[in-house]
């Protein structure tokens, strides 16, 4: 895996991730999130997790982002006008985030395995989908079915929530 490509995609992910929370227009935020997730999918593929990368593109940049854009267009949200900002609360939130960032840097810096390179894989191609499928339907069959029930419950819940209540 090329180091150059890693830094390109990492910067793409981080810059557009920051654009999500810096944009005032919700549509621009949603489109930045699409680019950020595409960069993240490329990072997954650079880790030889091809199946997860494909799922990331299909589920997030395909389904979830269409849902976000649909809701933004449906509610006709405009860019929020500059309201009075509570500087004390904002500074507090930013301080907590920065302290958390410092904590992550210090933990990763002291982790000995974090300075090792990734071990090489045996072949040039690995049977990614086959191995995940074997684990999913073998060892993790019960959790898989429970997740199926969860998705069903979410579907019914969404239908109930968006039904107009009779007055």
């Amino acid at each position: 895996m090329s180091a150059f490509l890693f830094w390109i995609f990492a910067l793409l992910t981080l810059i557009f991730g920051a654009a999500v929370i810096l944009n005032r227009n919700p549509v621009a935020s949603a489109l930045s999130l699409v680019v950020s997730f595409l960069g993240l999918a490329a990072l997954f593929m650079s880790l030889n997790a091809y199946f997860i990368g494909i799922i990331q593109v299909l589920v997030y940049t395909g389904a979830v982002m269409v849902l976000f854009l649909f809701i933004i267009m449906l509610l006709d949200l405009r860019a929020e006008e500059g309201r009075r900002i509570n500087w004390l609360a904002s500074a507090g939130g930013l301080a907590v985030a920065l302290i958390f960032l410092g904590q992550i840097f210090s933990v990763v810096g002291h982790l000995t395995i974090a300075h090792k390179a990734f071990p090489p894989l045996p072949g040039s191609t690995i049977d990614d989908v086959r191995n995940i499928g074997a684990a999913l339907f073998g060892n993790y069959n019960l959790p898989f079915q429970i997740v199926g029930v969860l998705v069903l419950v979410a579907t019914i819940g969404v239908v109930l929530l968006s039904k107009r209540q009779p007055r």
Binding site: L14, V20, L47, V59, L75, E80, F105, V108, K116, L150
Partner: protein
């Protein structure tokens, strides 16, 4: 040479971006997007550890990738429910600003 630490740092910065979005923004849709960023940052560090920990057959740890698959599924369900709540809220109050929704505030 790219090490495990580089991926962990990228994942940590992405998580902090999402965290700052939840703390600083007041639009509920942007807060939901920031939640997605945080979930994906966790996924990135999980996949990096999966690639780092090769087992005796020399393959990555696929149990972790199954876990990431479950996280993606639950996150998709969570977004659907969250946006449905948002639409119901907008229908009742005509706003998506968290500052305007203070009925439960003590």
């Amino acid at each position: 040479m790219i090490t495990l630490g580089d991926y962990l740092i990228v994942s940590g910065i992405l998580f902090v971006i999402g965290f700052a979005g939840v703390m600083l923004r007041r639009n509920l849709i942007i807060i939901l997007m920031s939640l997605e960023l945080m979930l994906n940052a966790a996924n990135l560090s999980l996949v990096a550890f999966s690639r780092f920990r090769v087992d005796s057959t020399g393959l990555p740890d696929y149990d972790v990738q199954v876990f990431v698959f479950f996280i993606i599924t639950v996150a998709a369900a969570e977004v659907a429910v969250g946006l449905a709540i948002l639409v119901a809220l907008y229908r009742a109050r005509q706003t998506t600003d968290v500052k305007d929704i203070s009925s439960l505030k003590f």
